[in-house]
Point group: C2
Chain length 205, copies 2
Amino acid sequence: MNIPNETLAPTRGPIDHDVRNQIVAAATEHFSHYGYGKTTVSDLAKAIGFSKAYIYKFFESKQAIGEMICSRCLHDIETDIRAAVDEADRPPEKLRRLFKSSVTASLRLFSSDRKLYEIAISAATEQWQAARDYEFRIKALLQDILQEGRQSGDFERKTPIDETATAIYLVLRPYLNPLLLQHNFDHTDEAPTHLSSLVLRSLSP
Amino acid sequence: MNIPNETLAPTRGPIDHDVRNQIVAAATEHFSHYGYGKTTVSDLAKAIGFSKAYIYKFFESKQAIGEMICSRCLHDIETDIRAAVDEADRPPEKLRRLFKSSVTASLRLFSSDRKLYEIAISAATEQWQAARDYEFRIKALLQDILQEGRQSGDFERKTPIDETATAIYLVLRPYLNPLLLQHNFDHTDEAPTHLSSLVLRSLSP
DNA sequence: GTTGTGACTAAAATTATATATGGTCACTCT
DNA sequence: AGAGTGACCATATATAATTTTAGTCACAAC
């Protein structure tokens, strides 16, 4: 039932192999349907018509499979966020969309694939590499928006940009991180709007 | 082991009675030492030299006792926060201290009385009245600081004060709420400074 | 009427036991 | 050499048996 706490998700065997993809596909389906805990490695093996042992030629552990699936989820969320941000052309609106879509994208996963969302919670709780990477990439996205806003004259330029980025990221985090977001469901409607407005006020030149 | 989810913490019997105080005293000691789950009502009864049944003349349930203890903890934290805020005389510094002391006061409880902190987490998780009241009172304190800052000319006056208060409260919450704070231990050093600076920038007239 | 309790029960927690699962390895078959 | 597996073991998980515990109530003493 529990997902133990490892930091990295090592794979092994041939990186690009049809069977690896089959495993990932089967895992996505099973994890999404029955959850990580209720899915056994033998289930996955049976689903693709091989023995359990063969799975371990491609993945070092069950968790490594979980991390792979989780990594995809987070990438999907990120894609949604980037799409929303890209729709806007001015940095202030981009920032608003970053806040808004972070919440909506995570909530979409939550309601469409509860079980996968639970894996994302584990990833956040136990700080899997996938979760750290996701955090990092969103932080970079934020920094890009800030940079652009400074160049366009929309945002102030006095405060060191690292400091600004860190602070804003701290504001965003409770609604970005799946583990934290679940404790903020009561505020998902209003928080993105209020917080991005506050942040934009703090950025005004 | 689990603390069930009730909203209110009803008491019964004489409100001001020596035995009630004895119960609270014994509960504070036992809960703090062995934790809420590992303390039985009989333990408390034995500690004060009465039968278990007599405890129920004063409290409607074990949880009601837990809520009483939790309520005290939160009041203690609040006192710390108010003291820190009162030490400053200008609203901006008051706000900085609100952020800083919210974290330090909670962390103090966490390291000095882990078991009581766990009760505070339950209170936050299950939204006991004590937790709601605490939230509400800090929110009021925040609003007072904002009001004062607007009158003194330290803070801008365009944005509706309710909106400002709500937004800032949302920024503070992850570090105020014991349940959320535990997921932010990595940031307790820097977050208060960064966040209060950001908030102050957003408040600049 | 107030103070106080032993005896009781339904539900929860603990322990004991059985079963299932993650993971490895020597091995076979192409 | 690469693809693939059955048999195996230590640990985790589920299940059943047992004990604790929260909470009530009728009743006693004052």
